[in-house]
């Protein structure tokens, strides 16, 4: 009999221990996941060009004023630059400058070469230079223009770079594609050849794949066309005419000949969160740049909120502990505080939107947001301060009063200082809730990611930024790196508070 109860105890405690460890494991999983996604990104990329870089395609160089983190340029992008597809760099690199495509006058031999690079050997095939292209008479003046203009790009002969190439940067070009004959990409049952991984492309070109069916395409034998003598690419006409034909060809040629190209898929990995991300201002809804202004806005928000909530909360607690006599009033006050504590943040959001934004006319801005947050965290501060004040021994108050101190002096000089660690814990808890809040802020504080200029200026906080980056599809990677920063800030607050409270407690 006792054995059975001991065995039962063992089982029960085993389960309890397991569940406790399980809780820690969940936390570890969440933290690990967010940190990992925050620090590393891994994205699928799809494109038509193969990863084959040419520093000097056809003896030409692509020069830019500043490469802004760009490693190489894909042909479709280069082509788009010269055909009005882009007006600025925002979709190309982490840069917002106006795009200035510079080309050497096609009448000059160097210019004609660049024109062939862009529009194909066989001529321009109907493609027109974009209206924004600036033509320079020669390579030197094109380079001078690039040197002087942020956001400029030019195609110049590599030979011209030399001394004149100072102050500009060159970008290698990726222009090799896999073109196929039209029958390969024909839709069969709404399907066509799938996007190919590098391994699949390798196998295809090695001849290991005999039929397009294996790649999701039509039932058609694969026919790999040989490259022209002395080159890497096959003539466009040959590809177009072959049955089930595939070959390497420059994008410009494929485009000029109207050939279909296969899509390559790959995975791009890299570091996500960097120091630059912390100190740069966000641009283009946070797609480029960093989060410095958002971090600052968050701190403004916290300071303003605490500046309002702390005095009110502590004062309310002082009233409840030191002044209020038991009775209906205190019951009402307690009920109010408890109820306020239970109201979900979305309701606070609705109220803040109606009252502060609309009726009081504060608009979407820091003030409306912070007032809403103040209401949200007030109960936490009141309750913890109340507990802390109650924990101050009565004897301390009596000691002070017996010395002839007034009640206010006693509260201000003895009770509150003695309760400070507890009050501080409450403030930190409140800050923790405020810094993680999203639902209430979206309707009250606005979402401007620029630095707040005043109380009424719309401001975006970190948690809203995480949500908006994600929800508006700006960038998932950045949502995770911002979430990492947010979590680190929350952790820092927790840790700092514990140290501080510990030290204050140590003085006792």
């Amino acid at each position: 009999m006792p054995n059975r109860s001991v065995a039962r105890e063992k089982t029960a405690f085993g389960i309890i221990r397991f569940l406790s460890v399980f809780t820690v494991a969940i936390l570890a999983l969440i933290m690990g996941f967010i940190l990992y996604k925050g620090l590393r990104y891994s994205n699928e990329v799809r494109g038509t060009v193969l990863p084959y870089e040419e520093a000097s395609p056809d003896g030409l160089s692509i020069v830019v004023n500043d490469r802004e983190g760009l490693e190489s340029l894909e042909f479709p992008v280069l082509f788009g630059m010269y055909t009005d597809e882009y007006i600025n760099w925002s979709k190309i690199s982490a840069d917002e400058h106006e795009l200035l495509p510079v080309a050497i006058d096609p009448a000059a031999p160097d210019g004609a070469k660049a024109e062939r690079l862009l529009f194909g050997e066989s001529g321009r095939a109907g493609a027109e230079w974009g209206s924004s292209v600036r033509f320079a008479p020669d390579a030197a003046s094109a380079l001078a223009l690039v040197r002087a203009t942020p956001g400029a790009v030019a195609i110049v002969p590599s030979a011209a770079l030399g001394a004149a190439g100072k102050g500009v940067q060159t970008l290698p070009l990726r222009r090799m594609t896999l073109a196929v004959s039209e029958d390969v990409v024909a839709l069969v049952d709404n399907r066509s050849v799938e996007d190919l991984s590098d391994a699949a492309i390798d196998r295809l070109l090695k001849g290991s794949i005999a039929n397009w069916k294996e790649l999701g395409g039509p039932d058609l034998a694969v026919s790999i066309l040989p490259a022209s003598p002395g080159g890497m690419t096959a003539p466009a006409a040959a590809i177009a005419q072959a049955k089930g034909g595939v070959a390497r060809i420059y994008a410009s040629e494929a485009q000029a000949a109207g050939l279909s190209t296969l899509t390559r898929k790959g995975v791009e990995r890299g570091w996500n969160l960097s120091f630059r991300y912390l100190v740069e201002a966000p641009r283009l809804s946070g797609k480029v740049g960093g989060i410095s202004t958002i971090i600052l806005n968050t701190f403004f928000m916290l300071i303003l909120t605490i500046a309002m909530a702390a005095p009110i909360g502590v004062a309310a607690a002082v009233y409840l502990v030191e002044y209020a006599k038991q009775g209906p009033l205190v019951r009402l006050l307690r009920l109010g505080t408890e109820t306020l504590a239970g109201i979900p943040s979305i309701i606070f959001g609705l109220f803040g939107f109606l009252f502060f934004v609309d009726i009081l006319g504060f608009g979407f801005g820091l003030l409306s947001g912070c007032l809403t947050l103040t209401l949200m965290i007030l109960p936490t501060i009141v309750r913890t301060s109340e507990e802390a004040l109650k924990a101050v021994p009565r004897s301390l108050r009596e000691g002070s009063l017996a010395l002839g101190a007034t009640k206010l002096q006693t509260i201000a000089r003895v009770a509150i200082p003695a309760a400070a660690p507890g009050i501080l814990t409450g403030l930190i808890l409140g800050i923790g809730r405020a810094v993680g809040e999203t639902a209430a802020l979206i309707f009250t504080m606005g979402s401007d990611y620029k630095l707040a200029k005043g109380l009424f200026s719309s401001a975006r906080a970190l948690s809203s930024h995480v949500y908006l980056l994600f929800a508006e599809g700006i960038s998932f990677d950045r949502a995770f790196s911002t979430a990492t920063v947010l979590i680190l800030i929350v952790l820092a607050f927790n840790f700092g508070a514990r140290r501080l409270v510990g030290r204050m407690g140590g003085m006792k």
Binding site: S5, V6, R8, E9, A12, F13, R17, L19, T23, V24, L27, I30, M31, F33, I34, K37, A315, A316, A317, Y319, L320, Y323, G336, T337, E338, T339, L340, G342, I343, P344, S345, I346, I347, G349, L350, F351, L354, F355, L375, L378, P379, V382, T406, L408, G436, T438, A439, I442, F443, S463, V466, Y467, F470, F480, A483, L486, I487, V490, L491, N494
Partner: protein
């Protein structure tokens, strides 16, 4: 002396005002919510609003029935508690009764951090991990009642753990010693004496967690699936009251907007009711603890 007296009086008045602010805020919130939400019932009968599952606010003849979302909130919360309560109880018991200092410190910090993680982050985690796990294990889309409940369970866990631990620690030592002295095992003492004595405190904690779960918005929005229909099962999509408010809030106009505020009223009334339950339960805890000390 007179100056000092009036100063003291003035200070007291100011303090009273601060103490009143919370109550005033509750009052204001109630008034504004009802003021903006109630006009809906001039056009839509309350019964239809509460008991119809047809929610098509932008249709040619708009329908405003939120029963699906009431059910959604109810299911999600119930399921979340079904996960969180056993785990929370176990961890609370562990912290209060079993853990050595080092282990309890580690677990307590973990619980504290769990409580501090912003709900958006829980949402991101839910999308990437929890929905994938439930999809793999139980099928469906992964954006479901089940996923939302699991995320909520993790989010309410800290509340339940903390309250359980505090309630267990508040049980007078003599009771425990008395039980052990009678030859009961530690485990028997825990589940026959400690947990029953701390029961009302634990219940209050659970209800508190329930309130958090019902009111949570961002995390469930990201994993719930959000279809405006009653959940078809564990792996069915779910929309809660809070999700309904935030989904359409940014662009809704006229009656549609009013209907969102009316949804807010329903949510608000639920929360208030829960709150009253907590207050009553807490009162009983306090008296039971005091009674225990007397015994």
């Amino acid at each position: 002396m007179k100056l000092r007296k009036s100063l003291e009086k003035g200070a007291e008045g100011l303090l009273l005002f601060c103490a009143l602010l919370s109550t005033l805020a509750v009052l204001f919130i109630t008034i504004f919510l009802f003021h903006r939400g109630l006009p809906l019932f001039r056009k839509v009968p309350i019964a239809e609003f509460l008991f119809s599952t047809d929610w098509s606010p932008t249709a040619a003849s708009p329908k405003y029935g939120i029963l699906s979302f009431i059910l959604g909130s109810f299911y999600v919360t119930a399921l979340a508690l079904a996960f969180a309560v056993p785990v929370g109880l176990a961890v609370g018991v562990y912290l209060a009764e079993l853990a050595e200092k080092k282990a309890s410190r580690a677990i307590r910090s973990a619980v504290e951090i769990l409580a501090g993680i912003p709900s958006v982050v829980y949402g991101l985690f839910g999308i990437a991990i929890i929905s994938a796990v439930t999809r793999t294990l139980f099928g469906g889309t992964g954006y479901s009642l089940l996923s939302a409940s699991i995320v909520l369970a993790i989010m309410t866990l800290p509340t339940i753990i903390n309250v359980t631990e505090v309630s267990l620690r508040a049980v007078p030592h003599e009771l425990k010693e008395g039980s052990l002295a009678l030859g009961a095992t530690h485990w028997q003492t825990i589940y026959k004496v400690l947990v029953p004595t701390a029961r009302s405190g634990i219940i209050a904690g659970v209800v508190l967690g329930m309130g958090r779960a019902i009111g949570e918005t961002m995390a469930v929005l990201m994993v719930g699936g959000n279809a405006p229909i009653p959940p078809s099962g564990l792996t069915g999509k779910v929309r809660t009251l809070t999700m309904n408010i935030i989904t359409d809030m940014s662009y809704a106009k006229d009656d549609h907007l009013t209907s969102l505020f009316a949804t807010g009223i329903v949510l608000f009334v639920f929360i208030l009711t829960l709150n009253l339950v907590v207050q009553l339960a807490l009162k009983r805890t306090i008296s039971s603890v005091e009674g225990g000390q007397g015994a």
